[in-house]
Symmetry: C3
């Protein structure tokens, strides 16, 4: 009875998905859908459905398309095509019961929903997260002298974050240079020299000096800063995305802005350590949740929560493209967290009231507080 | 009922053990057997039986020697000696129900079975895997000028892999230099200079340039390349065997040969990530399975399978010496995998038919496909 | 029935807590107590009770203060204040049923019990562990010339360890430089030069040459050497405390003194590997046990024991300050270990007799043997 309260709380909670992307708005052909199912390359002789994520889609998403559980991939794709992207998105986004999406708008190689479109399709509130590398690259694309780059970037970022609905910024420094960066603030001369090299060469922002400059510029904004760490696509060197590598930089910037370590897997314990020792460090296991699926989400969350203060874990899906992932992330989070809290309540290691508070905090209220989102919170802790 | 199908499938499956060594053919005295039970040094004041592997031997191997479960170590050793190595090997190798062994023949400080002897004792088919460092060291031992080394090594490797029954090659670069290698192809001048130093000095191949040359030479062969990563004996620096350190080299060689990450523990999640983002990267948790024993194999497999595509995990034992390990590896794999698949089927997170496919693929068919072994596969995925 | 024997053994066992600190002897105000509940900074807008450790205190410590389980934090603090530190310490220390504490006396920013006071409060035997960095800093504070530092430190350490009751030494090299040290013995000239720099600059010992000198000096003492690895407070770079980084130094010093890897989390598997391949390397998961709490201690212990020889795991609490942690560590160890051993006995993967031996060894006898403590041991293995 008491343990059921946790499941009921999580089921009824309008989650805050504090880091996601848009849902694909155009019809995805089978190859297109399959390629978005994984973070990797296509495997010529294996189906992307033959993954934990693919199994989870067939099990947990098929019924929302009026199909039996575990429907075959081909049947799933045909039904998906039949319904069309608008209806598919509507179904999954509403089924997720997410109350608020914070949308990273800086990564969209496919046509995906804008925050306004996502709000309309889901019935949820949406906010925007500005991807800093995209701002820097737009500054470069717009034409700028090397010695004006630093200030131009700063001005562009300030302008970007002043737009209505922007609640945070994000960096993918982990992809561009790795997190084993010189932590110190780069001076103007160093920035100018690096900008000269980069602007002459072109391409994406991957100069270590300019990435440091970007991170330090973020600190001045006063907004929550999301940092990609751990798991991602094949463009990454995983061992250089261990969030522990940020320690010296977090020490230098302690007391400034909230830092949200995204994804983290397989370094969720390292991220948890940082959330303990740095006042303003938070973490999630987004992206991982739908890749491991509901069957394994509890195990990953259990590691992420081993030592983590309960005000420091947030929910995110990091869904991009198929709206299945906006749904699966929420489902995996709800089920995984409910399972581990229920087990502790049943063993009398946790009181039902505490379990309910932990569910509300991690699923919704921690994000509301960090991003200063509207809505009543259960801050009775 | 449906969940039982997984156990039945795994029980009846002629596994492919895609990486193992021979079984000891001479009688092992108690000290000799004990020393082969662990990857470490002898502990003067503790028995090697007082380990998870030792417990597993006494529990799961004693009955095959007509002893009660959990027989004392001394009783076990006496009975083993009484039966003699041929009978002991026969019993364990047949009990493993392995259909195919791929045997690394390049590491044999003890007298162990040849692939032909292993086939005779087990009733299984056997193939050979050529250890590249052994070929390089034979070239050096045979006498070669520094400027001829590169070509001589290449010729020797090509000759070695053209022998009948050879299905792949293996490198222990992780032991020799660590995996944090310069990923680039070394030019002829660099190889000649390094060969000059190495040939003058002698000893095993541990020059970083020559190890890179060895890996790049392997890429040209077109055969599956096994790489030691993670767990091994005391000759290793574990943190330099993290497979994620191979990322840049995998990127440079993508689309060439299948790369099989062996062992991986405790970096099985890092290996899983690589198997997602690189089309031709595969993994196993061999060696670990019998060291952790059947009681813990499921937990390790669950991590190894968290995000891994089901066509990317293979079975291996990495058994060397006592045939107990050829058996225990198979037992731990079967029981660990059956347990986790059964749990998911019972929770309706996985259909019984999918569970059976995953069991067949990981236990047999993935290896058949990668190594192009004969036999029908269930490639209906 | 048979499985119950493990719980009974662990419940009745006078544990050896081979690494802890003193209990706070002065009344802790709510802020003071709260700050000692975590390894991190205060979080201005969150209670340190909202952590796994805080939940465990309210659940498992409240009853010892005559409060209901899960008592609110404010009630807990009020009752704690009412009873006063002497009574609180007495209750928790006796409830821990620890038979022997080995106390690191070199870290005491608060007023905590001396070993003699801890013995009186707990009824246990106590021994002392000398923190080497504290000795070095006392030598510097006492005034010494750079060229006399090496010998003065050596003499001071020898004097410190000859005091009655000293059973080991400890280094926090992981905090000062990280464990990625040059492993080689530093010569006299190098030490003199480094001492000159350090003595001129002052502050804590964090010069890499002098830290190496400290470690090599420890090797000559012949006493067990405790090394901080993994988890700790915010003064750490976690990724540089991976015990695998010690590999080369362990190889150079193999066969000298027992090396005890403390804490280890999240690198418990790396530590386990070292305990397999180095004859005299041991590990514990102290500190982690009370931070994860009894609900999760079994999962951490299961990883720590995956491949670890059963004579190589020890128990420690690493408790400092609140005596709650001396109790919670012991409780988490007993319950976590009993749970995993019971599960294996019930699955017939482990005999009840072996389970009992493993419980006695890891909870008491391994420490007795390593530190040559008095008391009968169950060395019938």
């Amino acid at each position: 009875m008491a343990a059921d309260a946790v499941e009921e709380t999580l089921d009824g909670l309008g989650l805050v998905d504090h880091h996601c992307h848009g849902a694909a708005t155009r019809a995805l052909d089978p190859e297109g859908f399959a390629s978005l199912l994984t973070e990797g390359e296509a495997w010529p002789d294996a189906s992307p459905f033959d993954t934990p994520a693919g199994i989870a889609v067939r099990r947990h998403c098929a019924p929302l398309l009026d199909l039996p559980r575990h429907a075959p991939a081909a049947v799933y794709l045909a039904r998906r095509a039949e319904l069309g992207p608008a209806e598919v998105n509507r179904r999954f986004l509403r089924a997720s019961r997410v109350g608020t999406f914070c949308v990273d708008t800086g990564h969209a190689p496919h046509r995906v929903t804008t925050p306004a479109e996502l709000a309309a399709a889901s019935g949820a509130e949406t906010y925007e997260v500005v991807r800093l590398e995209a701002v820097a690259e737009a500054v470069a694309a717009g034409g700028v002298e090397a010695d004006a780059y630093g200030e131009a970037f700063r001005a562009a970022v300030w302008k970007a974050v002043r737009r209505p609905g922007v609640v945070g910024v994000k960096s993918v420094a982990a992809y561009r240079t790795g997190l084993d960066l010189d932590p110190s603030w780069p001076g103007q001369a160093e920035v100018t020299e690096a900008a000269g090299r980069w602007l002459a060469r072109g391409g994406r922002l991957d100069d270590p000096v300019l990435v440091r400059h970007l991170l330090w510029t973020a600190v001045d904004l006063g907004l929550p800063l999301q940092l990609h760490t751990g798991f991602g696509d094949g463009d990454l060197r995983l061992h250089r995305s261990d969030p522990a590598l940020l320690t010296d930089w977090l020490r230098l910037t302690a007391g400034t802005v909230p830092v949200l370590l995204l994804h983290c897997w397989p370094y969720q314990r390292q991220a948890a350590y940082l959330s303990v020792v740095f006042e303003r460090v938070y973490l999630d296991v987004g992206l991982t949740l739908h890749h491991v699926g509901p069957a394994r989400a509890g195990a990953v969350l259990a590691e992420a929560l081993e030592i983590t203060p309960f005000r420091k874990l947030l929910y995110s899906s990091d869904a991009y493209g198929p709206a299945e992932f906006h749904h699966l992330g929420a489902l995996a989070f709800r089920r995984g967290l409910a399972g581990l809290l229920r087990e502790r309540v049943e063993a009398d290691d946790l009181s039902p009231a505490d379990a309910v508070r932990i569910a509300r905090w991690t699923g919704r209220d921690n994000a509301r507080r960090v991003y200063r989102l509207p809505g009543e919170s259960t801050d009775d802790g």
